[in-house]
């Protein structure tokens, strides 16, 4: 297996899928001549030309809608948002059109569009540009929400997303993960939606985490292992569909669960998992399920305050200690 950055893994996924299927095209701000705001589309313009790598004006509502329309008539668009914060300008297109059309057309018109871009806080981009939108988009039936944490998952899941029919995919990348290196699969190593990955096996507590938080969870698991607490770290990888079977199986083994996510704590995927787990695995639980998310605030600009808002390894450790009753 090749070792690649998360960024290059995404680029290769698009490259290979564009080679494979001429209906696939990429559109977004700075995806062509600038090679992508985060250099994810490096080299695509040279290889596929301006018809299939399209620089869009700064008008997300417009090019998101264009992507939806293109998908409705048979193309396979990849729409890049420079960051997901800007998708709010295209929210109506995504929610009212993309997620609904297949169902509202009685299954006649598929909308196989992929919306992708970096999600979550970078460093000090303040309240309006630090959103984690996973909880928001996972709310809507008709959208599939994918959030890879490793280069391998990024490549395998993006390829699945591009080939996916009939509903649109919300593909959430990590701005702070683009430089992360890891082994990635080949051209046909697709990763199915709805299949969680166990990142670390353990017997004492299940830690569910995705995106950037997956690494906070792994670090916390390392620290807890020194105290004799073995964490099972699970990355669901797709939040819709959600691999509840894997989570229930793990919680039935460990009897305790902590969920770590970057999105805001009110509602969202974390709360959804708590709800489903407490019903599916009620008799297995030895402690209330704990959640670690961003604090319920607009993100402050100040670096020290930003750190206080985001889920940290320390907060994950505290939650694990609480559910394992090991807090000193």
């Amino acid at each position: 297996m090749a070792v690649q950055t998360y960024r290059d893994a995404l680029r290769d996924a698009m490259y290979e899928e564009m080679e494979r299927d001429e209906r696939v095209f990429l559109m977004g701000e700075e995806v062509g001549h600038y090679q992508g705001a985060y250099k994810v589309s490096q080299g695509l313009l040279e290889r596929f030309g301006e018809r299939r790598v399209v620089d869009a004006p700064i008008a997300e509502g417009g090019f998101a809608g264009l992507g939806i329309g293109a998908a409705m008539v048979g193309l396979k668009p990849i729409i890049e948002f420079m960051t997901w914060n800007f998708s709010f300008v295209a929210f109506d297109q995504i929610v009212s059109n993309a997620s609904k059309i297949f169902q509202m057309s009685g299954g006649v018109i598929p909308v196989p569009v992929v919306f992708r871009g970096p999600n979550g806080a970078a460093r000090q981009v303040a309240a309006q540009h630090s959103h984690s939108v996973d909880g928001l988009y996972a709310h809507f039936p008709g959208l599939q929400v994918v959030i890879p944490s490793t280069p391998a998952d990024a490549k395998g899941l993006l390829k699945t997303a591009i080939r996916n029919e009939p509903n649109p995919v919300i593909f959430l990348e990590g701005e702070t993960l683009y430089g992360l290196k890891g082994e990635v699969g080949g051209a046909e190593d697709l990763i199915p939606f709805g299949k969680a990955r166990i990142g670390r096996e353990g017997s004492d507590v299940t830690v569910v985490a995705w995106g950037r938080c997956y690494y906070e969870a792994l670090s916390a698991a390392e620290l807890m292992a020194e105290q004799g607490i073995e964490c099972e770290v699970i990355d669901p990888r797709t939040l819709r569909p959600l691999d509840m079977d894997a989570l229930v199986t793990s919680v039935e083994k460990t009897h305790r669960c902590v969920i770590v996510h970057e999105h805001l704590p009110y509602g969202g995927v974390g709360a959804e998992i708590v709800d489903q787990l407490q019903r599916a695995a009620f008799d297995a639980l030895d402690a209330p399920i704990a959640r670690v998310g961003s604090r319920d605030l607009p993100m402050p600009y100040a670096s020290n305050l930003e750190t206080l808002v985001l889920p940290t390894v320390e907060r994950v450790v505290e939650a694990i200690q609480a559910v394992t009753y090991t807090k000193s």
Binding site: H255, F282, D283, A284, L285, D286, A287, P288, Y325
Partner: protein, 434 residues
């Protein structure tokens, strides 16, 4: 108008009952005589039926709660009735059963009239449920705090969580607390080998396996202690020639068999005891302080062993029943006893008891009187024995009978007279017909 529903006294000896199962849920319509819940009393699991019509507005007692009679368990009224005052009244005025009090979970007066505080933030000291009662409403109502996993394990292992100290927040029982007393599974210790994993005391000796006493066990302990402490027992034993009884039974069963029945020695003894009580009625009596009660009915309590202990269902008017009827009645009652379906009225107001351990090969034993009855007959095994008949040793059948008498009402001569009448009846069974 909503009203508080108290736990009914479902048997005269019930001084606490355990709410086994609610059969109605909050919001359900309730009609008069509808089954509300099942309650385990000292002797049986009873039906708790409604005297009221309306809607079950609130359930105040959790399943598994042990409560004194009249303790508020529910509120019934019309939909929309304001029940806050009643709930507050129930919380303030509830009378927890004695063992609930022992655990230091007195009702929380302050909490009764104010909304419950969130439990999660309770900073109560671990294991100190007294301290917790001020902050933690669920500890205050006598409920055991336990994780769902612990509740499931307790169900599987038959553990009573009230006996487990919780080390979690607010005294919550968590899995770790069960692991530390994992040996308390009922079937764990079998012989010496199992002591290997048992907890040890300070001297290095294995600690006993602790089990919570069932309602029935508590009643047995209380009533028999009362009996032995308050009733002056004396005992009279005879060994009867059971040869005629054996022949009589064979004849009887040859006929009874055609009707699909079978009469046991015990059935015959019960019948004979009943007839003997009719002939010596002063033994069919109870001492009641300033009064002596001579019973007009001859109702024989028959001791029946059940998995948890024993019960004494009553064969009414045993003197007037045929032996086959007695046989059927005892079978039916024993079956109900084992299924815990005996109703209190089927276990109360016996006038005399018969207890038989013959099937275990016991030759003779002295039974403890079941107050307020005046006596109990202990029946031993039918046995083959060499007997002297007309100066010669021949094979014979013998059966040992011991009468325990309450000396306050049955004196020695009276007991002896009754026992000799009984002996006469059993040695010449046909005379029962006289």
């Amino acid at each position: 108008m909503a009203k508080l529903i108290g736990l009914p006294k479902l048997s005269p000896t019930m001084d606490e009952g355990t709410l086994v199962r609610w059969t109605k849920a909050e919001g359900d319509a309730v009609d008069i005589d509808d089954l509300l819940a099942e309650v385990e009393t000292d002797k049986a699991t009873m039906e708790f039926r409604s005297f009221d019509k309306g809607t079950l507005l609130k359930i105040l007692a959790d399943e598994g709660a042990t409560l004194a009679p009249d303790a508020p368990v529910a509120i019934i009224g019309a939909k929309g009735d304001d029940i806050d005052a009643l709930v507050a009244k129930a919380k303030g005025g509830s009378a927890p059963a004695p063992d609930a009090k022992d655990k230091g979970t007195a009702p929380d007066e302050a909490g009764a009239s104010t909304p419950a505080k969130p439990k999660a933030d309770s900073k109560a000291a671990q294991g100190d449920k007294q301290a917790a009662s001020g902050e933690d409403d669920s500890a205050a109502d006598g409920r055991v705090l336990a994780s769902p996993l612990v509740r499931k394990l307790a169900r599987e292992r038959g553990l009573d969580l009230r006996t487990v100290d919780g080390s979690g927040p607010g005294g919550r029982v968590i899995k770790r607390d069960l692991d530390s007393q994992g040996e308390s599974q009922p079937d764990a210790p079998k012989g010496g080998a199992s002591s290997a994993g048992a907890e040890l005391d300070a001297a290095g000796l294995a600690l006993p396996r602790v089990e919570k006493a069932s309602q029935m066990r508590k009643v047995i302990a209380r009533r028999l202690t009362e009996s032995k402490q308050q009733v002056p027992h004396f005992y009279l034993s005879v060994d009867i020639d059971a040869e005629p009884l054996v022949r009589f039974r064979e004849q009887l069963n040859a006929e009874a068999g055609k009707a699909g029945g079978k009469v046991s020695y015990n059935d015959l003894v019960v019948k004979a005891a009943a007839v003997a009580l009719r002939r010596v009625p002063k033994v069919n009596a109870s001492f009641a302080g300033d009064e002596l009660h001579f019973h007009q009915r001859i109702d024989i309590s028959v001791a029946v062993a059940v998995p948890d202990g024993l019960v004494t269902p009553v064969v009414r008017d045993a003197d007037r029943l045929g032996t086959l009827e007695i046989s059927k009645k005892i079978k039916e009652l024993a079956e109900k006893a084992r299924d815990k379906k005996l109703k209190p009225e089927e276990m109360q107001n016996g006038t005399f008891s018969v207890s038989n351990l013959g099937m275990f090969g016991i030759q003779n034993f002295q039974a403890v009187i079941n107050p307020p009855e005046g006596g109990i007959l202990a029946v031993g095994a039918l046995r083959d024995e060499a007997v002297v008949k007309d100066g010669r040793v021949v094979p014979g059948k013998r059966m040992g009978l011991t009468l325990s008498c309450d000396h306050r009402i049955v004196d020695g001569a009276l007991g002896a007279e009754w026992l000799s009448v009984l002996r006469g009846l059993l040695e010449a069974p046909l005379t029962m017909l006289l």
